[in-house]
Amino acid sequence: MPSAVAARNVSHRFGDVVALSDVSIEVPVGTATALVGESGSGKTTLLRCFNRLVEPLSGEIVVRDRNVRDQDVIELRRGIGYVQQHGGLIPHWRVLRNVALVPRLRGQQDVDAKARDALELVGLPSAQFGYRFPHELSGGQRQRVALARSIAARPEVILLDEPFGALDAISRAELQTAFDGLRRKLSVTALLVTHDLAEAARLADQVVVMRQGKIEQRGPMSQLVRAPATEYVAQLIEQARASLQGLLA
């Protein structure tokens, strides 16, 4: 299966601090990969390389078979969905206008219809929610809108940075379900940053464990559980034992 996105021997530093050290990953088309690790492991930095919010000092980042450096940065970003932890909705725009942002930036046809479709896909009827301001929604609803905004222009790739991290457990479970269904339906390639192993297990085909800018292990969650490659991975899985129960059984 060809890779939709890939990082090859990527290294980066912030001043003296090593953020990424010779990192390589491949995300096959239509699959989901989770980057897990504690704060400072480099997972968010790696994610941000794919839409050039971070320009790594060395190595190669490939999106849709081309080095991102050879792509216009604005066009690149418009072609990639993006969801961050605190939705980042534009507060003075109503929901529909927020969702229509990328289709409008890309000059697509039927912007309004695309925005309504996207809202329905995340489970928010546009007639009911389309004309509200973000502050009139609950936290879970706002993340749904952010998710809708990221897929409204039907990108092939979507990047998610702790997208459900700030939500309560029930909203998080609901959103995970919604996202998983949505991703499979649109067969979009997803790269997801999370510190929650259970979330990674649930949503991703492949899990990449990072620590201090290096990859500890990568592979399906079942493989990580069965055969942790390092002490650190084993420890991580041990800590998450309770929430991984279904998989471990």
Binding site: L53, E75, R77, G87, I90, H92, L101, H135
Partner: protein, 535 residues
């Protein structure tokens, strides 16, 4: 200067702040009217008006700029050529301008002092003194009869002895001048218990009310007689002679020699007794400066009769304040219009400059705080000082006033723009960036709309500051509602002061109110409903 050309210059300034100096150059050349000015006290107004009417009676066109700041501002304006002539006093020229100290034998002799300053002004400043008008107006250090009795005060030496028990109310000018308090301290050992700076207009009332014990008056003040005050004798001849005379610019004298001959007709024609009488009519009886000037010129046989449109305003003194305002509605409307013009142009220019500046600083945050801090320091410069600094560069009138107001308005607007844009919803800005907006799109679609309320509150602050500060523009002849305030202060006319202060206050409220509406209109959509109040 005609109203239209002024307006044109006003708008020129809005677009082209850096070319002030050039615009100022244009104003001094050509066939402009003779600019006759005065300092901000009654006698100076009166002499200025007499110069002006005398010149007009001989066919010269004249522009009046009465009430210029104080010695420093009037003198700088004259040197820069922004004004052509104003009445000055020889002693002031000697001590406050030249800073010369002469041997006692010369300093006490009016003729010797006059020839000394004539020579020195010509050599140092290319300014010319016309022969004195005939009277002296020296400082009169005055106390009430009661205070004089209680402390046995007859001379300034007595004052030096008793001063630790006394409260002094001196004009700011006097406190700082070497021929003022500084010299009194040096020569007579005057160390009052406390020195309060007082405006010329209020010092007599303050003395009469017992708020202060000793003031600096002028020997020709009409109010000295009204309040029955005791003038202390200068027993050690500290004060130099203060002969009043026309001080004029050499280049004006070369350009219009006949005007100089005309002004010289007043030389040696006014006695101290006459001057005290004239000042009394203006300051105590509330007679109009123009009618007093024309009646005296007529008495002297220098003009045939006063201009027909002049009525003494003593009739107006009988009516209430509102009828006083009503009688002056045309000129008040004109001054309000000029005031608004000053405010609008300065504010607009400040908005045009400070908003982009705030945006640039937001992109280069390392220099932001020093730059904005520098603008903040400008706020601490007293308006009068700032106006005085500008005279050598920009002359007097509308342009330096606009520049000063513009400088004062920059800080709140730049600060508001910088902080507003910097702090605009960081999550929304980050998401917009990640989704492929250009920096310009982020600025226009996200950051500026979110920063609008903060920017607008900066603009509102600037507007209210500007309305207030614009009253001081009158000190450098820019007109506006400060004109009746400055003139009222000089002539001790409370109603005149209020006729400027009240509209200025109302204007401040109106401007703030209008901008409050603008603020609602530009508020980001999700906050607008809250701002409009109840649903």
């Amino acid at each position: 200067m005609t109203r239209r050309s002024t307006r044109r210059r006003v708008w020129l300034v809005a677009g082209l702040l850096p070319v002030f100096a050039a615009a100022n150059g244009a104003q001094t050349g050509g066939n402009r009217p003779i600019v006759v000015a005065s300092k901000p006290f009654g006698e100076s107004y009166l002499l200025c008006e007499m110069f002006a009417q005398l010149l007009e009676s001989r066919g010269f066109s004249v522009e009046r700029k009465p009430g210029l700041g104080a010695t420093e501002i009037a003198f700088r304006a004259l040197r820069s050529g922004a004004i052509d002539v104003y009445p000055e006093y020889t002693g002031t020229g000697l001590i406050a301008v030249l800073h010369d100290s002469l041997p006692d034998s010369i300093a006490a002799d009016p003729r010797a002092v006059f020839s000394h300053i004539s020579r020195e002004f010509e050599a140092r400043y290319q300014l010319r003194w016309l022969p004195p008008l005939g009277f002296q107006n020296t400082y009169a250090i005055a106390v009430t009869r009661q205070t004089a009795r209680r402390y046995n005060l007859k001379t300034l030496s007595d004052l030096g002895r008793e001063s630790p028990h006394l409260l002094a109310g001196f004009t700011a000018d006097f406190i700082g001048r070497p021929d003022g308090l500084v010299g009194l301290t040096r020569i007579y050992g005057v160390h009052p218990k406390e020195v309060r700076p007082l405006a010329p207009a209020v010092k007599y009332q303050a003395l009469a009310a017992g708020a202060v014990d000793v003031i600096d008056g002028y020997s020709t003040d009409g109010l000295l007689a009204k309040y029955d005050l005791v003038t202390l004798v200068d027993d050690r001849h500290f004060f130099p002679p203060y002969e009043a005379a026309a001080l004029l610019n050499e280049s004006f004298a070369k350009r219009k020699p006949e005007a100089v001959t005309t002004l010289a007709l007043l030389s040696n024609r006014l006695t101290e007794a006459v001057m005290r009488q004239l000042n009394r009519r203006v300051e105590v009886d509330g007679e109009d400066v123009r009618s007093v000037a024309s009646s005296e010129l007529t008495t002297l046989g220098l003009i045939n009769s006063g201009p027909s449109d002049l009525r003494p305003n003593s009739a107006g003194n009988g009516g209430g304040f509102y009828s006083y305002l009503w009688d002056r509605r045309a000129s008040l409307a004109g001054m309000t219009g000029r005031h608004l013009e000053l405010v609008a142009v300065a504010l607009l220019a400040a908005v045009i400059f400070a908003i982009p500046l705030g945006l640039i600083l937001e992109r280069g945050r390392r220099i932001a705080e020093p730059v904005i801090g520098g603008l903040g320091v400008l706020q601490t410069i007293p308006s009068i000082a700032l106006l005085a600094f500008m005279i050598p560069l920009l002359g007097v009138g509308v342009i330096p006033a606009l520049v000063a107001l513009w400088l004062y308005a920059l800080y709140p607007i730049a600060r508001g723009t910088y902080s507003g844009v910097r702090d605009a919803d960081p999550d929304a800005v980050a998401a917009a960036e990640a989704l492929g907006t250009t920096p310009m799109q982020r600025l226009l679609l996200v950051r500026l709309p979110l920063a609008a309320p903060v920017i607008m509150s900066g603009v509102r602050t600037a507007a209210v500051i500007t309305v207030g500060a614009a009253t001081l523009a009158a000190f450098i002849g820019a007109g506006g509602l400060g004109e009746p305030i400055v003139a009222g202060l000089a002539l001790a006319d409370t109603r005149m002061i209020l006729s400027g202060a009240l509209p200025a206050a109302i204007l401040a409220l109106l401007v703030d109110g209008v901008l409050a509406l603008v603020e609602r209109v530009v508020a980001p959509a999700h906050r607008r409903r809250a701002l409009w109040g109840k649903r």
